[in-house]
Symmetry: C2
């Protein structure tokens, strides 16, 4: 909508890859150096980017501070953490917490495995949405039309031979997950890694987050991991219970949609 702001924001992912100098930024934005300079200066004034001693720019500290504040406002995280830690203490595997937002699922918390062989993942990193157990749980709860729309919008990379191949398969899987109330990822992302997950529900039973336990084959077999399912579900339910118990006033007004999603064209 706003070209200038759009350009400025495009600089951020670019700098996230690593420090860059003025010319690199200008050429990747496809604007004149002077334009890039002004944008960078503005970002700098706001502490979003930082200028290194060698004059190159990188993402600044305030961005980090902002993001940190943002996550802290996600009450699910606060509530869930102790439960996740407890589960990790009990089984020793990596435990993840994830939320869905605009075609992306991302980890917002994680308790590391206590085994030396670990799964790689990163808080804040988008999840492999078509295969991850947490992603299935979150998408399975979307209202039918939207679920369908999202499924068709996605790409289906073949990470492994067991990755979800296409939208149809994914929708079928989502239906199953929705039905049974839990989900798995058996080698769909990394051949040797399995996950079991369960949904965390807020008021009115909507899925607000999802959690999972992940472990590589070399540590426990898929069957052994599945045997943890009851425990995982109990943890998710405990979090849900606590979450609905004292939700810090989420969505005061029910739902107002001045412009409904699927509006009919005017006559």
């Amino acid at each position: 909508m706003s070209q200038t702001v759009g350009r400025a924001l495009s600089i951020l992912p670019l700098l996230a890859e690593g420090p860059a100098n003025l010319e690199q930024v200008a050429s990747r934005l496809d604007v004149h150096k002077s334009t890039a300079l002004r944008l960078l200066r503005t970002l700098h004034e706001h502490g979003i980017v930082y200028r290194q001693p060698d004059q190159r720019y990188r993402l600044g500290a305030r961005l980090f501070a902002l993001a940190q504040e943002a996550v802290e406002n996600l009450d699910v995280r606060e509530i869930a953490h102790p439960h996740l830690a407890e589960l990790n203490a009990a089984c020793g595997h990596t435990v993840h917490l994830a939320v869905y937002e605009e075609d992306e699922v991302l980890y917002i918390d994680k308790v590391e495995s206590r085994y030396p062989v670990r799964m790689y993942s990163r808080i804040g990193k988008p999840v492999a949405i078509t295969v991850a157990a947490v992603a299935k749980l979150l998408l399975a709860d979307l209202p039918e039309p939207e679920r369908r729309a999202v499924a068709e919008r996605l790409d289906y990379p073949r990470y492994t031979s067991r990755s979800t191949p296409d939208a149809a398969a994914f929708l079928a899987e989502l239906a199953k997950v929705r039905e049974q109330g839990w989900a798995t990822d058996l080698g769909g992302h990394e051949e040797s890694i399995n996950c079991v997950g369960a949904p965390i529900r807020g008021a009115e039973g909507r899925v607000v987050a999802a959690m999972s336990v992940s472990a590589p084959n070399v540590v426990v077999s898929a069957d052994e991991l599945l045997s943890l399912l009851p425990r995982v579900r109990r943890t998710a339910e405990a979090i849900s219970a606590e979450y609905v118990g004292q939700p810090t006033l989420p969505q005061p007004t029910g739902g107002r949609h001045p412009h409904p999603r699927h509006k009919r064209a005017a006559p």
Copy 2:
């Protein structure tokens, strides 16, 4: 420099406080609703802000992802973490890692105390710059003119009776810290909390980060905490050694300053 971008960026700290609707944003930016709408839409397109089901805006997931990438590029953090964890395992207290950036010092890592009574702090939150041990360490290493300029720019809130009262006192303290190579905060921020810190040095001996151990009076006395100093210094030195050992190509060119800081006016 760029008004539009500036306005858009001003929305971020505002939303960090909590979700807000269009009107609130518009009035706090002091612009027309339609203007605020366009800015928010642009931020939304880039995933920086998210629109809740109740139509209010809050900071989005991508901001979180970006920030996460940003910190990961700070190699000090990667290198330091295991050492901090080890120190925590040994003494049980809260361990912090902080960096300085443009008049701000902020925590970039933290290992929580294992005692029930803990100091409150938050990764990503700006540190009380005039009293914190880590802040003293970082500022003490600035070149003299800048150190002075910063000290005079700062505010000196009287958190407690032992807070640094003014710029003169602060500069004196910094000189001492610079001299002795370590720093303390004895009840300067919270009456009952003490800290001991040591600097982490990069190539050429410049201080690139600082670490500290904090504990409340009720757990250990200031003297007992001070007895940890040798250990803290050793940890900081171990991190420094590892950091200079394999710095992932920081600052390739030495220093180019097309426009020197203190340029004389043209004749």
